[in-house]
Point group: C2
Chain length 145, copies 2
DNA sequence: GTCAATTATCTCGCTGAGCGAGATATTATC
DNA sequence: GATAATATCTCGCTCAGCGAGATAATTGAC
């Protein structure tokens, strides 16, 4: 019967570890931690079918517009991403991820994701549902909206 | 019945949101994201009764020794932390957190932690246990040791 | 006991990530 | 059609964090 606080600290530990794994992967590929986080955000947006503009990316990374331009420049230079003007609102720049970026993401985080999926499968459906609801609630608690 | 993958993505989302909140708090207090992460690590170590040396801090933050010296210098300058030579192994520098740092941490993350604790209390003991075990397993899956 | 090897931290010099301020281009408002 | 609001980019600058190497303390081998 673990205390509520120990569970909260575990949650933080997960965040710390995810950050460390991203940073290690970044260093191993000549990228910066922010670049990896950006790529993850862009892949997430792509999967969710969301726009993926420069502005949204910056907000999600906590960067201002200048910093955002810098990240996108680096990803473009590495060939993981390209810029496309949004035809409907030509102020916007849509950021399109290349297949190479998808492959990179899988190579980097596939094994970790696989281990977590395996872990989830050791729980009953009811338990999995509770875990999912808890994480949903945590995101809501952390996201001011 | 959410898919395993959607739960994994939620977990990543939690990590992203925690990072954002830390970065916002850092900016609001004239600190850098790394400084806040360092403070959290030091407070965690203190609570767990672990040593909290410069080297361990650097490893946990993914910094090399030069960068670690820099973080500690900044925290010392801000008065949140002080250096103390370990009497048993005088190569080591123990990093002692000030009460001000504890108060700062509570002010910054207390409300969020409170919301998550409240959230946990909406689950049955069995569900809470499953959540805790899942997070334990996730840390193990992410931490190469 | 002493000399080398190892460990923990720090210093120095440098690169570049990300900030603030402001420019530019596009769209919405009146 | 002028004005305001929005989205992104450019420029110049600061400082976080890296690599290389110095310093100091400890451990191990002989």
């Amino acid at each position: 019967m673990p205390s509520e606080m120990s569970t909260v600290h575990l949650l933080r530990e997960v965040a710390v570890q995810f950050g460390l794994r991203s940073a290690e992967f970044a260093a191993a590929n000549g990228m910066h931690p922010t670049d990896v986080r950006a790529l993850i955000c862009l892949l997430d947006a792509e999967r969710a079918g969301e726009p993926a503009t420069a502005g949204r990316l910056g907000a999600r990374l906590g960067l201002n517009s200048a910093g955002t331009t810098g990240v996108v420049d680096r990803l473009v230079r590495l060939g993981y991403v390209r810029r496309e003007r949004d035809p409907h609102d030509r102020r916007r720049v849509r950021i399109v991820v290349d297949e190479r970026a998808v492959a990179l993401g899988e190579a980097a985080f596939g094994p970790l994701i696989g281990r977590i999926v395996d872990l989830l499968r050791t729980f009953t459906p009811a338990e999995r549902d509770a875990i999912h609801r808890f994480l949903l609630g945590t995101v809501a608690a952390a996201d001011p909206d």
